[in-house]
Amino acid sequence: MEKTLLKNVGKPDSLTIGAYLAGGGYKAAEDAFKMTPDELIQRIKDSGLRGRGGAGFSTGLKWSFIPKDPTLAKYLCCNADEGEPGTFKDRVIMENDPHLLIEGMIITSYAIGAGAAYIYIRGEFARSAKILEQAILEAYAKGYLGGNIFGSGFSLDMHVHRGFGAYICGEETALLESIEGLRGQPRKKPPFPALSGLYAKPTVINNVETLACVPFIISKGADWFKTIGPEKSPGPKLYCVSGHVNKPGIFELPMGTSLREIIYNHAGGVRHGKKFKAVIPGGVSAPLLIEKDLDTPMDFDSLAQKGTMLGSGGIIVMDETTCMVKTAYIINRFFSHESCGKCTPCREGTTWMTKILRRLESGTGRQGDVELLEDLCGNIFGRTFCPLSDGAVMALRGALKNFREEFVYHVEHKKCMA
């Protein structure tokens, strides 16, 4: 497939507005301003673009929920908090092609009538933040940001807001709290951000990769976008592959490419001649899959049918030497560390699960621990404001479903069978 989202990656000076303009950059924004906001929203709806942050919600539909009242302040927030373990795609866009993101944000802001846009970027991405800040200055200097863009009368300010170490801020309402200068704790929904978001004003929150698709849908058309991948989840997709493979990395492929093709044809297969054991398809919140599932197409609906999810497209491959109890422990420890503490089932539940998994892993597990874990899962899932602990439960349930005997072995033999 011809590269779209990654077409400028690796080109010299790809960071600069000069190089971006030479490649036809900001032409899509210019064309977008010849359309009405409603026409733009319709175009995105027609393209079938679904949010690349993980939820897979229709982007055009999300934009259409923003009230049309011109007297209301509205906001666009780009979710660049990229924190789902196994995911490293948005950073590649931001550090190689920042103007693609900015152009997508200008078009989106115009479509929803936002006068201010924030890029919420995780604090660790200091380099990406610097690159974006520089690119934003360049865009202001060329008149693509600021007052009266393309003579349309439309004005837009754009800022980078750095997080500072909190996975939960990738959850959209926690992200909004964080921009407001608060602890990043999720809000109760409804009201949804489209009606009451940043500063209680209508707000759209879109992922970096989602926004990066927008200029191409304007310049190449909704029909072009729909020719790539499956009908209900169209478009190019960035898949991140890490773990026990020969060639880890980021691969732009049509949505719906099978796991087998991604792992074996693009990521070079399992390294060191070892046998494949399991794969996490969409970041650590996504339940793992095993050998018999490898022909599953990597798109929202196909993975949901398999009881897992596309999530962020973070694929983590594990070979036959991997201890699934240790894997479950590392994943749960992460969720426990990142729980914001607002909801008791998550705060206490993930802590307790991690404690049990730690003792199983270290060989001091007790009879009944596996059943206790299963019981805890039932008392956590669906009982919290946000899906963080649902992710912890789904990941653990996936491991237990396919590798329960390994957990039991740890209890009975105080060691690993892998």
Binding site: A126, R127, H161, G243, G249, I316, K326, T327
Partner: protein, 155 residues
Amino acid sequence: MLSANLIEEIKKIQARYHSKKSACMAAMQSVQREKGFLSKDDMTDVARLLEIEPVEVEEVGAFYTMYNVEKPVGRNHVQVCRNLSCSLLGAEHLVRHMEKVLGIKTGQTTKDGKVTLSLVECLGSCGTAPMMQINDDYYENLTEEKVTVILKGLK
């Protein structure tokens, strides 16, 4: 006490937002960049500038893990990822090696104040695992040999 430069910078940050309180995170980042960590007095000064209560700044400092609240770190803050992709490719092994090279345990700072060694969750660079961050920079595809050279080269 915040320097005149910092006060100027924090005022500029406020202009990006609808509310002054929104500037809290970036203001604290600026203070930490200049001073290496956040003292209680500095957080109170930030609160005064933003016309909010000191506790509103302190709770932000306590929530986000990258703020070094009343806890100076070494000139080089070495943060090693311990999450799944890095662990699969030997992060634990690497950390033990680093503890040996530095003569400290994770969570500690060398006596000369040069290096603090910490374990952190996913840094979003799983395709180049195992990896670590030293201050603002990422170091990727690490091996024992590579890490030894990097650590010995720290100023």
